[in-house]
């Protein structure tokens, strides 16, 4: 009982330290220190890029959205009024991603670059350490199906699920990113996760894989 609680307290201390460092860097950036801002970029670029990539499913557009988000954040750093930096940056990035998604959806269907981009083989081939080959194979196949199912979710549920389950952020931070109440986030996550479960239970093969995955992980 004590070890998880200790771990939780250490995590909290670490988060407070990270927030304080972010605040220091923002204060310097607001005085025009580009190096300080670039340290913020290094601290958060992975989060922004990963969220944009899973929203857009297009590495090139995810790069554009991420870069553009940081340029806009630098331009508007004076308007940052305190609080956590990461949700503020994520809001800018997800707004850009949505702009790109909308402009993509307005493009004619016959456009050459309107073809869907398949990314799951590269994503799912990175095995966690010390995983049994059978577990890895099952997880890889299920993950590939899950990536597809994730892309089919309504946008509000998809972003909530990406931030919650893929990125592991707390409800409060997600609420800040999406600018809605925590209760709304709870509801979006629930609806999104239930839909994904329905997809995984929709085919015989996925049901078999899910059961196998559950069995392998309970051993």
């Amino acid at each position: 009982v004590l070890i998880p609680r200790l771990q939780e307290e250490m995590d909290t201390v670490q988060i407070i330290d990270q927030n304080q460092e972010d605040e220091r860097l923002v204060a310097r950036a607001q005085k025009g220190d580009l190096d300080a801002f670039n340290r913020l970029v290094v601290r958060h670029e992975s989060a922004l890029y990963n969220v944009c990539l899973r929203l857009l499913r297009d590495p090139s557009q995810a790069e554009d959205a991420t870069q553009d988000a940081f340029i806009r954040a630098w331009g508007a750093i004076d308007s940052f009024r305190g609080g956590q930096v990461r949700p503020w940056l994520l809001r800018i990035a997800t707004n850009r991603a949505y702009d790109l998604l909308r402009s993509k959806s307005r493009r004619p269907a016959e456009s050459l670059d309107s073809q869907p981009f398949e990314i799951e083989p590269e994503w799912t081939s990175q095995a966690p350490v010390a995983e049994q080959p059978e577990t890895f194979a099952t997880r890889s196949e299920l993950s590939a199906h899950l990536e597809h199912a994730l892309a089919e979710l309504p946008e509000d549920q998809r972003l909530a699920i990406i931030l919650s389950d893929v990125q592991g952020y707390a409800y409060e931070e997600i609420a800040e990113v999406m600018d809605v109440a925590v209760g709304t986030i709870k509801s979006r996550i629930s609806r999104g996760r239930s839909r994904l479960r329905a997809v995984l239970q929709g085919s015989e093969r996925d049901r078999e894989l899910t059961e196998n995955f559950g069995r392998l992980n309970s051993v």
């Binding site: 340029i71 308007s79 972003l159 592991g168 996760r193």
Partner: protein, 161 residues
């Protein structure tokens, strides 16, 4: 508020998902524990939701294709004026996710991100200077005063006793 039970007398998905995320109240915890003790169906549902969450959390973080640090040229383009601080387009507001029912207009912290402004400046009249606006307001006030006098003379507007 969370609906505890489906119409089929099983735990609702929202409650099960809250349990998976560890964000249930003491009352909810008690309801869930009591129900799960005798309901295999809800235990299976719970397990499948846990599996989905676990699979999602196992999705790997993609390596960055490059650094996104700003170059000195990009840094020179810093806009310290009010443009970037007063923008807000439909798409700029993250609450405005297409298809969502709970659209909220953000009037809080400025988030840069879009080309079309809908706050502040957009509400002003384009091409009309403050001086012209003041003249128009004065003209309107004079007209209203004239109308009041005309009504008074016509006996429609009686002075207060």
């Amino acid at each position: 508020m969370i609906t505890y039970m489906h119409t089929t007398n099983h735990l609702s998905d929202e409650l099960l998902n809250s349990w998976v995320d560890g964000v249930v109240t003491t009352d909810e915890r008690s309801i869930i524990c009591t129900h799960l003790e005798h309901c295999q169906l809800c235990r299976d549902e719970l397990e499948s939701l846990r599996t989905v969450k676990r699979l999602l959390s196992d999705l790997p973080q993609v390596r960055l294709p490059r650094s996104f640090q700003l170059t000195p040229e990009q840094g020179r383009n810093r806009d310290t004026g009010t443009e970037s601080a007063t923008y807000a387009s439909e798409s700029e507001n993250p609450a405005h996710v297409p298809g969502s029912l709970d659209e909220v207009v953000d009037e809080g912290q400025a988030i840069p991100g879009s080309e079309v402004a809908v706050t502040g400046k957009a509400l002003a009249f384009p091409g009309v200077s403050p001086r012209m606006l003041a003249a128009m307001a004065f003209g309107l006030a004079v007209s209203l005063a004239g109308l009041r006098v005309a009504l008074h003379r016509a006996g429609r507007l009686r002075p207060a006793p």
